[in-house]
Structure formats: structure tokens, C-alpha cells
Symmetry: C2
DNA sequence: TGCACTAAGTGTACGCCGTATACCGAGAGG
DNA sequence: CCTCTCGGTATACGGCGTACACTTAGTGCA
């Protein structure tokens, strides 16, 4: 019945527990105190491994980039970008708490390697310096924007979409004068809405557009 | 020297002051207590006009949609969408605090009219129900994603871009193995980077893509 | 004229939060 | 054996959102 030795705290253990807690309870549900509790430790013990909560968030984002991984270069730049975009979106779906902070936290080394790899893919595809930046900005804006949208609407399965739409509609006094929104609420449940399809639709449009830009510059 | 009558508190005054404070100090700098102070009132007085801080945030987002306004329909759907996107981005630039919360807060009536108008524009342009939703999702993802990116990078003038890039680069131990990022840091300052151009580049690509989709479905 | 009722603003207090600071015990190195 | 470092602890401070009970000023009606 005596105290078992208890595996020692590590920076990695702290970060992993933080990610787990944020997955389950959201960013608001992640407090240093609750996290310490979960690790069977007093709150201030965390500060021996992380400078402060901001640094913990930095580390969590970096952990997410590690989870995503950095893909090897490929001759098929469109496929490469598509796979990367899909993976980032998947990660943000598994870890919705990351949505607001992916771009705001201080970047870690893997994060930077990520950026470098994307830029490298675009330059390798033939984009000029300025166009590569444009393309990069466009892709990231779409992926992060879509993921944020998805997290905000808060449904994962196609069948939930209609339910979510009605919930939103119900929270508003009247849909008078909103014919298209009313149509959406009416038709969406039966339309077999699928967020994967939605994401791919936009992604295809983007990649096609990029290819055209590339072709026209050559 | 006696107390002047002091203009009475109003929900609108509270919301306006909150927007002002968030503009100046960010969302983190917006506390009920500081806001009350600014209004020369005790914190709890605010609760006579707003249910709680969440409701205040809802109202702030709604105020932002009011500021943006709902544009009248137009035959030129591309121009309409471009103007709207530009205006939304402009609003998010003036009020960076709104970046994380535009889509997550409970929507108010003007917000909904906004959505309805966009959907109406797309349906009017000839997009089928499902494609209109796809297009909508794509446009919003881009606009909000771009604005978030812009806010995260945190520079407004083209000339600041290089400085921001170096700052980011300096915060990282070494750029070894990051040739493209290194190139970016080296070339960006002199490249005359302009966020307006950046935004327009992606927006044009999007609208072009949408037009193609529209043409091919007809 | 008086009186109840309402709505706006106040005061106090509670339980969270992040974290500064001082402390303590165990193991390591001389 | 003594000191030093390092991981974990205890206590405490100031700030947060807000529940609850209160005063006070105005209003409608008898």
C-alpha cells in the first residue's frame, strides 16, 4: 500500500498528456492544474519541464507537426500537395484544439522543416519564387480555413450535417427573408453531405488553378 | 465637482467599448473588469446588458457583420464575391481579435443574412445546390484562412514582411537543412511583398476555378 | 400624494486560473 | 562527509468570470 515509485515526469510526458487532455476537453479544458492532477503531480511540478503555458502550447503544436510527419519529395507535385493537405486536415480533425494556434505559436524545428518541404515542392515543380509564396499562402489558407470551419460547425459524420444545420437554424428567431438558408436547412439532410467530398472539391479546384498558373508562366 | 450625470449604459455602448478594447488590446486584453473600468462602471453592471462574456463575444461578431454590411445582389457574381471577400478580409484586418471566433460564435441575424446573400449570389450565378455549398465553403475557408494567416504573421506594410521573416528565422537555432526557408528570408525583404497582392492572387485563382466549374456543368 | 414595482448600478464573495517564490529530499561528485 | 544540483512540493498573489444580495432612482397607478 506504500507509494509506488511512479514513473518520473518528462517534458514529453507532459506534452503528450496535454495533447490528450486538449483532445478530450478542448483548449479551455486544459489548465496547468488539471493537467498536473492527471499526471498525479502538483501543478508547479510542470514548470520544471515547461517554462510556462505558452511554451507548452508551442510544444503541443510541434508535436502535432511531428505526428503529421514530413513527406519525401516527389515528382508528382500535385499528388504531394494533395496528400499533405489531406494529412494536415486529418490531424486538425483529430486535434480540433489546434485550429486557432497552428500558425500563431512559435514554430519548432519540425514545423519549419514542414514549411521548407512545401516550399521545396513548389519550387521543384517550377514555380518562381514569388509564385511559390503565393501558392503556399493559398494552400495553407484553404487547409487551415477549411479545418477551422469544420471544427466550428462541429459534425463529423455526413448524417450529422443536417442535424447541425437544423440546430443552427433553430437557434435563430425566424428564417423569414432568408430563402437560401432555408433551402439549405431543408435540403442538406437528404443531400448526403460529406465533408471529405467538400474538402476534395475545393482542393481539386485549387490544384487545377495552380497547374494553370504554372503552365501559363512557362 | 459633483458627479456628472454620466450617459447611461446600453447594450450597444457595452458592445462598442468591447470592440474598441479588443481592437487595442486583443481578445486576451478584453476582460469584463477592464471593460467595466473603461465605461466607468462596476464589473457586474455589464451583466444587466449582456448575459455573460460569451454573449458579449456573440454580439461583437454580429457587430462586425453589421460593419461589413450586406451587399445588394448583382449580375456580376464574380465581382460581387470579390468585393465581399475583400471587405471581410479588411474587417478582419481592422479587428484581428475576430479571427478565431467569426465562425464559432452563435450567429446573429445580420450574420445569417450575410450567409444567405452569398448563397443567393451563387445560386443566382447558376450553381446547383451542392456546388453552391462547395463554392461557399471554399470561399469562406480561403478568406478566413488568409486573414488568420495575416494576423498570425503580424505585419501590415509590405516593408515589414522582411523584418517579420527575419524575426521568425532568428528565433530558430539554425536554418541548416532548410534551404527554401533560408531563401525566403533572404529574398523576401527585397521582393516588395504585398499582402493585398497575395490575397488577390489567390482570390483570382479561386474565382477563375469557380467559373470553370460553372461552365463545365452547363 | 403616496406607494408598490421595476430596472440599473453596487458590493461582496467564491472558485477557478497562471505562476513567483521559498522550501525539501534524494542522489551525485569531490 | 559535505556540498551541489535537480525534481517535486507548499504556499501565496493577483486576476479572471460571475452568483447573489443590496441599494437607489425612476415610473405607473390608486
Amino acid at each position: 500500500m506504500s507509494a509506488e515509485p511512479r514513473t518520473p515526469l518528462t517534458r514529453d510526458r507532459v506534452v503528450a498528456a496535454a495533447v490528450g487532455r486538449a483532445d478530450a476537453a478542448g483548449l479551455d479544458g486544459l489548465s496547468m492544474r488539471a493537467l498536473a492532477d492527471e499526471l498525479g503531480v502538483v501543478p508547479m511540478a510542470l514548470y520544471k519541464h515547461v517554462a510556462n503555458k505558452g511554451a507548452l502550447l508551442d510544444a503541443m503544436v510541434e508535436a502535432l507537426f511531428v505526428e503529421i510527419g514530413v513527406r519525401d519529395a516527389s515528382a508528382d507535385w500535385r499528388g504531394w500537395l494533395r496528400r499533405r493537405a489531406t494529412e494536415v486536415r486529418g490531424a486538425l480533425r483529430r486535434h480540433p484544439w489546434a485550429n486557432g494556434i497552428m500558425e500563431t505559436r512559435a514554430p519548432g524545428p519540425v514545423n519549419l522543416r514542414h514549411h521548407d518541404a512545401v516550399l521545396g515542392c513548389l519550387r521543384g515543380a517550377g514555380f518562381a519564387f514569388a509564385d511559390a509564396i503565393h501558392a503556399y499562402s493559398l494552400m495553407d489558407a484553404y487547409v487551415y480555413g477549411f479545418a477551422a470551419q469544420e471544427a466550428a460547425l462541429g459534425f463529423a459524420r455526413p448524417s450529422d450535417a443536417g442535424e447541425a444545420a437544423s440546430r443552427r437554424a433553430a437557434s435563430v428567431p425566424s428564417s423569414d427573408g432568408l430563402p437560401h438558408l432555408a433551402e439549405l436547412v431543408r435540403l442538406l439532410p437528404a443531400s448526403g453531405y460529406d465533408p471529405d467530398v467538400e474538402f476534395a472539391w475545393g482542393l481539386d479546384l485549387l490544384l487545377e488553378g495552380l497547374e494553370r498558373r504554372l503552365a501559363s508562366r512557362r
